[in-house]
Amino acid sequence: MDIFTLLLWVVTGIAFIISIVKDKKKTINSMKMARGMMKNMIGQIIGILFLIGLILTFIPPDIIKEYLGKSNTLLSTIVAAVVGSITLIPAFVAFPLVGSFVDIGISIVPAVAFLTTLTMVGVVTFSLEKQEFGIKFALVRNSLSFVFAIFISFVMGVII
């Protein structure tokens, strides 16, 4: 276990102990909630993790690198942002998926665009947003988020 994860466990452990000392019932209820959330997502999580193995086996990194090395970063970033906008998977399972892509050598610019639009832009939830806040708000917020996702990804490409 790396130091970062260990630290998170220590912090959470301390928080848990404080919580249980202060209010046992509340803590137990919140643990039930944690279990419920985990149960809801575990199928998807395991599915994605094993999918990563398949992708890494059948799409050799060399081919991906060669292909993406030749293609235009702007174009691949826009495609990644569009895919992120229409996909509705929890960010939780997106991180290992995107991590595996970056590990095999894909540029981080489209990776960041995908991660950012995945959470901020919602094409599938657009009708819901329109219904609650009106079409103008939904349209403006989603388009701005899309543009800013591309902006963030290119700035990150320069920094990292």
Partner: protein, 243 residues
């Protein structure tokens, strides 16, 4: 009946499982290689997954979201923006889970710019999620993306509030109806399936297909009053009293 529900919920897992099975039969070496390739990510995930869910639930239980929400009325300007950012950051669930909460705040008079901040922060900025991101993509990646996203959120909030006015939004007042027949409605699309309501009040709620369901059809005014605390506890604000 239950089998079809199970298939629907675990579509991805079943498809991936089927691919693995056929690989074991036809190309065993590829199946073993795929499994080996996955194992690193599985081990990493197992280390961090429980702690993320526990931390998310603890934040949900202890952070006084109600207090933050109630102080919205008076607060404006910088304070309002910071409160919005905090509110979004400490909440659990995907962006659409923020819709009912934001709608409620909008009715209470929150600014449009603050609503944008809550929605965006809710979507992107979450402490347990940042830990997950740092784990799989590196702390530097996470930190830089966090800073850039935070800056973008505040610029976006300003821009949206310049373009969209409250007249463009459907804000209707819900009628207070104390004598009318009341019932409980659950917006399924907002339910995160945490199961809190079923655990607190199993006689009124059940889980169906991973979503909460209201089972007690004959509700008296007293019964609905008793459900009120559960409505407040629902982390997704998916339960409401319907007149």
């Amino acid at each position: 009946m239950n089998a079809t529900k199970y298939i629907k919920r675990n579509k991805l897992l079943l498809i991936v499982g089927a691919v693995y099975l056929s690989l074991i039969v036809f190309k065993t070496d590829k199946a073993i290689l795929s499994f080996k390739n996955s194992s690193y990510y599985i081990i990493e995930m197992l280390q961090i997954m429980p702690v993320i869910f526990i931390l998310t639930s603890l934040i949900e239980a202890w952070v006084p979201r109600e207090v933050i929400m109630n102080s919205f009325g008076e607060s404006s300007g910088k304070k309002g923006a910071i409160l919005s950012f905090l509110l979004g950051s400490v909440s659990a669930g995907p962006i659409y889970a923020a819709f009912p909460v934001c709608k409620m705040l909008l009715k209470k008079g929150a600014r449009i710019s603050n609503i944008v901040i809550i929605l965006s922060a809710w979507a992107v900025v979450k402490v347990p999620m940042l830990a997950n991101e740092a784990k799989f993509l590196g702390p530097k990646f996470m930190a830089v993306r966090w800073v850039l996203t935070t800056i973008s959120i505040f610029i976006m909030a300003y821009l949206v509030s310049k373009i969209v006015k409250k007249e463009n939004m459907p804000i209707e007042d819900e009628k207070e109806n104390n004598n009318g027949i009341q019932s409980i409605s659950i917006k399924k699309q907002y339910c995160i399936g945490c199961g809190l309501c079923t655990k607190l009040s199993p006689e009124n709620f059940s889980m169906e297909n991973g979503k909460a369901n209201f089972i007690n059809k004959k509700t008296s005014l007293e019964a609905i009053k008793a459900i009120k605390p559960i409505i407040d506890k629902c982390p997704a604000k998916a339960i409401s009293i319907k007149c």
